[in-house]
Symmetry: C2
Subunit: 208 residues, 2 copies
Amino acid sequence: MAVVEKQTDVLKTKGERTRHVILTTAANLATEEGLDPLSIGRLAEATDMSKSGLFAHFGSKEELQIATVEHAASLFVDAVITPARSAPKGLPRVWALCDHKIGYLERQVFPGGCFFAATSVEFSHRPGPVRDRIEDMLRSWLSYLEHAVEQAQEAGELVDTLSACEITFELDSFGMAANWQHRVFGDPSVYDGARRAIRERLESLRPA
Amino acid sequence: MAVVEKQTDVLKTKGERTRHVILTTAANLATEEGLDPLSIGRLAEATDMSKSGLFAHFGSKEELQIATVEHAASLFVDAVITPARSAPKGLPRVWALCDHKIGYLERQVFPGGCFFAATSVEFSHRPGPVRDRIEDMLRSWLSYLEHAVEQAQEAGELVDTLSACEITFELDSFGMAANWQHRVFGDPSVYDGARRAIRERLESLRPA
DNA sequence: GGAAGAATAGAACGGTCGTGCTTTTCTGTC
DNA sequence: GACAGAAAAGCACGACCGTTCTATTCTTCC
């Protein structure tokens, strides 16, 4: 009777199921150890497979990395975008997006924090399809948030003395910095601080 | 007659000079390609040396990485901390610290942006002396900025309804996010946005 | 339940890595 | 300008990398 079935249940063949396990493991390890330093052998060990058996699913390391990025992207969408879409347009949705983003970091959908914050730094100076997918995803996130900000401005719920782009930058900064501080210093209380900063900033941007 | 002589001039022996060249090159490459993926061979090529000739200066890759981190730390201090120390205590120094930090990013003291933002993500899940030095440096920066914020609060130039820690978090967030956006998307105009956000936030934190 | 084909494993390759050892070249000092 | 020691190079090593090819085991469907 479940309306939403878990993604795993819909994977019919054994190949699809193993591929799913591999990509989940890869995305998790990539956020902690890095996407590129994650070797085929290391990943095979973590999934109890042989190097060649795992390798056969992808054909090259680059294809594996691309698949990992796309897998991570769908997890991000499920965790942040989709739930926020049920919030009403305007200010509530802006807040929902920020709040779910922090939640996604806080409950460690990936053990090393945001997958895209981690890998974008790694690949920013390495042209190729892997970098392109990572950047596409980040651009999508930022422009989606910016679009929500614009709608809030048009509804008169946020001032328009600042551009939507500037407001988006400020809002996203707090999430990014919290992700980074948690990763580096290990203190999860930064997420409360980030939420407070975002809430206060949104409050101060409301027209008088 | 120069009161401040360039650091290079004070390096007497040939060994000290080449070591300096190696570390500068290493720090630059590390911000773009990563500190760990930077191999001895790659660094030897970039400095026109043989692998073994370069290696002999450090004895191990880890020692090379430690030396690189410490070299980068001294560059950061020269670019951000030292110039800000000439600003009066209180709000002006808080602003000077933030402004010089943005300047350090903007004029690309390191080609890949902030050395410590880049390497801390890389090493946060890899215990050892390299990670320890990186985190020590970051902790020093944040606590120095926080101390300046406290002084501004004590002088009545900033409200104390928020803790110095919270204010520091917000101020540093903008610099971090600008560094990240410039690195990933290549748009240097984010630094103006970061400066504006910091200035506005400091303004809004002044007692009525 | 047996055939067809997908999924996995095993062994081997050329290449690069960090590192040690030996030899050659260069620097600084009397 | 020669001598002592520092600096640099040359070479070889074992380990691991991504990748290929072949052989084996397991799934799926009639």
